[in-house]
């Protein structure tokens, strides 16, 4: 009998305990935003600067442990578990849209005018816009003023400096990629030597038939980066160790990311940022000026908060006031024009913004992700390895590279 009572107690205790920890359902007037470990708390703080960004709705921000955890969560999310808005990378858009996890939004002309039109390329797929540009993600070249007294005007100037000072100043390389890797981060070097991933017409639309000239690009690679069929050591084929060596003063020029400018500033480097100089002074290399976006998910519609979530996107993520409040804390270059011009923007944010304004190219995932089979992200580092490590003929390898990029451009034609 006693045992029966105890069994009953066990069941009762179990139910009682479980009742207290039932997963809370999303409230009717609640908009759920997912972000990573830095953006999440910062968005939460920025939202708190105003009593309500969307009248009648509360906003809950869930921060994940890191960017990869966020990506994994959104990949696996369902209508019951997913957010209404996710703040993530622009190159998530094609995949998430293809998988039915994102919902499109339509901006009015005045809302569109708050951003540079090229910024919408990043967040669009099959001619539909899936998010609002939140912050600019780009790289720029920094030079060490203890080694180089003035900004180089051409690519050749940098190479000459490296060759002349390699031994005397124990230089380990001339220019290296510290931020963004040998594909995304190194696009400005491709571009400076004559190979843009794609080109634009005068009307701002992508030219679907133009690709780079492999003979010109290959010859420039041979001229500036090679000696006697081998790498001349100016530009390493890998990004490993670049940041440490630049900070240690053994590399005079480095391509750095805007997410880490404070690391350089903390070490005493001035924010003398610029695009990678081109073969001529008037043709600087274009860096990818991509954006991180606040994207609308298809789950918002399921939960009946789609219109409110769109209002939050426009009135907080896409407004001057919202981006100023957020970027004061986040310290990345804001995407919105009014916020970018705000006096509260720091010199690091401004330096990257200026470099992007001088020479940048939007990151179009639909082309770069390799719709024809091989992506830009894989083929670009492969080119550097083939030429700078294996010593292969740069013109021959440039022709292979062009074939891949050209095929991707054609394959993406209907999506852009």
């Amino acid at each position: 009998m006693k045992k029966q009572i105890l069994k009953g107690f066990a069941v009762a205790a179990a139910l009682a305990l479980s009742a207290g920890v039932v997963t809370p359902a999303q409230a009717a007037n609640e908009i759920v935003v997912w972000a990573d470990e830095t953006r999440g708390p910062n968005i939460r703080d920025a939202l708190a600067t105003k009593s309500s960004w969307v009248s009648g709705y509360t906003v809950t921000v869930k921060a994940f442990a890191n960017f990869d955890a966020l990506k994994e969560a959104i990949d696996k999310s369902t209508a019951t578990s997913g957010p209404d808005i996710v703040v993530g990378a622009n190159d998530w858009v094609p995949t998430l849209a293809k998988n039915g996890k994102l919902a499109p939004l339509t901006l009015t002309a005045s809302q569109k005018a708050r951003f540079s039109s090229s910024q919408f390329y990043d967040l669009s797929y099959k001619k539909k816009l899936y998010g609002i540009p939140v912050d600019v993600n780009n790289v720029a070249m920094i030079y060490n003023t203890k080694l180089v007294t003035s900004a180089p005007k051409t690519f050749g100037e940098m190479v000459d400096y490296y060759k002349a000072n390699k031994s005397s100043k124990s230089l380990k390389a001339g220019l290296c990629v510290a931020g963004g890797g040998m594909s995304w981060g190194a696009h400005s070097v491709f571009s400076a030597l004559g190979a843009d991933a794609y080109y634009f017409n005068a009307d701002g639309r992508i030219n679907k038939s133009r690709t780079f000239n492999p003979n010109v690009f290959g010859s420039n690679v041979r001229k500036f980066l090679m000696d006697g069929g081998k790498s001349n050591g100016f530009f390493p084929a890998s990004d490993a160790g670049c940041k440490d060596n630049f900070l240690a003063g053994t590399v005079p020029f480095a391509i750095i990311g805007n997410w880490e400018w404070s690391d350089y500033k903390d070490k005493g480097f001035a924010m003398n940022l610029m695009p990678v100089p081109g073969v001529t002074a008037s043709s600087p290399g274009k860096a990818f000026g991509s954006v991180n976006g606040a994207m609308l998910t298809s789950f918002a519609s399921t939960r009946g908060v789609e219109a409110a979530a769109k209002s939050l996107l426009v009135d907080f993520f896409g407004s001057t006031a919202g981006q100023v409040a957020y970027q004061k804390i986040e310290k990345r270059p804001p995407a919105e024009k009014g916020a970018a011009a705000d006096p509260s923007v720091s010199d690091g944010q401004r330096g990257f913004g200026a470099s992007a304004a001088e020479a940048s190219i939007p990151q179009v995932g639909a082309i770069l992700n390799g719709p024809s089979g091989t992506s830009y992200w894989d083929s670009a580092p492969a080119f550097w390895t083939a030429v700078l490590v294996d010593g292969k003929n740069p013109v021959v390898e440039a022709k292979k590279l062009r074939a891949i990029w050209s095929a991707n451009l054609k394959a993406a034609a209907s999506d852009i």
Partner: protein
């Protein structure tokens, strides 16, 4: 006293408390899984709750009490993933074919809205007009205002309206605005309001309406979509997409997970782009696992033999040799990765060379074997040392008395006996290294890989890292194909493990 702990009231109370806590946790997880529409997981948890309580609240099922936790954990973390992988390998399950057909159909319908040429948008107020859902629309470019219901569009003179400083109408006669907090979930947010056929106004955000037209309609009877612009029909193509009957390459997105039966397995043999890299990856996987076991065992045994004799500082040497084993392997691999760096790495500094360790296929493979040797030799040093102690000295002495020199004693007596003892461990090590994902992923990422020449797999990719690359390594994920390769890896590793178990005869006591 001790018996009281296991049989008395204290034990019963302890059991009840533990079971209550476990049951509470499982009920929570079950209802959470149910709420997230994970019905199979929820059902499994409920079954677990009943099984646990049934087993532990009875005095008659004693053997079951020992087996149940193991069986549940084995089912949850071994059998279920294997079964799930097996099932997924028979599906078209990749980027673009991720959700169910029902969800895909809903998404296609939701996406089939096309703004007009100018992207016309209006400031709106959502509310009711004479008890009907309606929008109070302000066209500030033309200074015109109207109320749109689902049936009609009623032009309203500005003099009858309340207009704010931005020229937006905020109130109109017979028009009752909805509270902001009620708009998103209201019927009005889902309706289409009259504009100019075929275009209508839909609520975009709380105060903006956009002019759209429907571009596709779903024909439920024939399970087809029809384009309202071109009249093209899109039918289920049997591969997880609605495809244009006139142009099969024109597919609607998103697609859905569709049964593909054995097509993923057939692709492994029939599709050149899958088969060719898979063959080279398989060969390297076998070579890598064999070389790893061979080098680790040889080096570990060599050190064990060297330190098997009493020498000064033996304890210190033994402690030092175990250090690589004590250090977290992830840290070791990353440090080695830095040391092998071409431009800045310590190894090239010492050699005075610019060896492209991770860019050249042969050097990368050498680096992988060397790093794995560093990570694994202490294990074989430890087991060899222990095994050497287990070999009776009489055998060695007898061999010496029979005239065998030390080399012959090692070759004819020590090594065969050691191999007899260690062969199950060698087989287990082979199976482990067959799937040594961490090393490859952290050290070389599977590379180098020359994409310019169309290489799909990297020079150091082993089957598991190649599978990971297919499943998660790029923007285009093919989970169905990756599952098929995983099943094959499972069969290989399970066979090797079974062979190892038989070799070690650990199951003999059960037979």
């Amino acid at each position: 006293m001790l018996i009281q702990l296991f049989r008395g009231k204290v034990a019963l109370a302890f059991k009840v408390i533990v079971l209550a806590l476990v049951t509470a946790l499982l009920i929570t997880l079950a209802q959470s899984a149910f709420a997230q529409e994970q019905y199979i997981i929820s059902l499994f948890l409920v079954a677990t709750i009943f099984l646990l309580n049934y087993t532990y609240f009875s005095n008659k099922r004693v053997p079951l009490k020992f087996f149940v936790p193991g069986v549940i954990l084995l089912s949850a973390f071994v059998l279920t993933p294997v079964l799930y992988t097996l099932v997924m390998s028979t599906y078209t399950y990749k980027t673009g074919n991720y959700i169910s057909k029902e969800q895909a159909t809903q998404r296609i319908s939701a996406l089939a809205l096309e703004p007009d040429e100018n992207g016309t948008a209006f400031d709106i107020v959502v509310g009711d007009y004479r008890s009907e859902p309606a929008l109070l629309v302000s066209d500030i470019n033309t200074g015109s205002y109207f109320i749109a219901t689902t049936k009609e569009r009623i032009e309203i003179d500005s003099s009858a309206l309340t207009i704010d400083e931005y020229e937006v109408a905020t109130a109109a006669p017979d028009f009752e605005p909805l509270e902001a907090g009620a708009i998103s979930g209201s019927d009005a947010a889902k309706l289409r309001f009259k504009y100019s056929d075929p275009y209508f106004i839909a609520v975009e955000s709380l105060n903006v309406g956009v002019v759209f037209r429907q571009s596709l309609e779903y024909l439920a009877e024939s399970d087809q979509f029809r384009s309202l612009i071109t009249s093209d029909l899109y039918s289920d193509n049997g591969d997880g997409n609605y495809a244009n009957l006139n142009d099969p390459s024109d597919k609607l997105e998103p697609g859905w997970r569709d049964p593909a039966w054995f097509s993923n397995y057939l692709r492994l043999f029939q599709d050149d782009r899958v088969r060719d890299p898979l063959v080279s990856v398989f060969i390297w996987t076998v070579v890598f696992a064999s070389l790893t076991v061979l080098t680790q065992f040889a080096f570990g045994l060599f050190l064990a033999l060297a330190l098997n004799k009493p020498i000064r500082g033996r304890r210190l040497y033994r402690s030092i040799l175990v250090l690589p084993y004590a250090m977290p392997s992830i840290m070791s691999i990353l440090i080695w990765g830095g040391m092998f760096n071409t431009e800045f790495g310590a190894i090239n500094e010492i050699l005075g060379r610019q060896i492209a360790w991770f860019q050249d296929p042969n050097f990368a493979r050498t680096a992988v074997i060397l790093v794995n040797l560093w990570l694994g030799f202490p294990y074989f040093y430890l087991v060899s040392s222990g095994s050497l102690q287990a070999i009776p000295n009489e055998l060695l002495e007898a061999a010496a008395i029979d005239g065998a020199n030390p080399r012959q004693v090692f070759r004819k007596v020590t090594l065969p006996l050691l191999l007899q003892i260690l062969s199950p461990l060698l087989i287990a090590s082979f199976a482990f290294n067959f799937n040594n994902f961490n090393l490859i992923y952290l050290l070389t990422g599977g590379g180098p890989k020359n994409q310019l020449d169309g290489e799909i797999a990297g020079a150091t990719d082993i089957l598991i890292s190649y599978t990971y690359q297919i499943a998660f390594g790029s923007n285009v994920q093919d989970l169905g194909l990756a599952s098929a390769i995983s099943v094959i890896i499972f069969v290989i590793v399970a066979s090797i493990s079974l062979y190892g178990v038989r070799k070690s005869k650990v199951l003999e006591s059960f037979s």
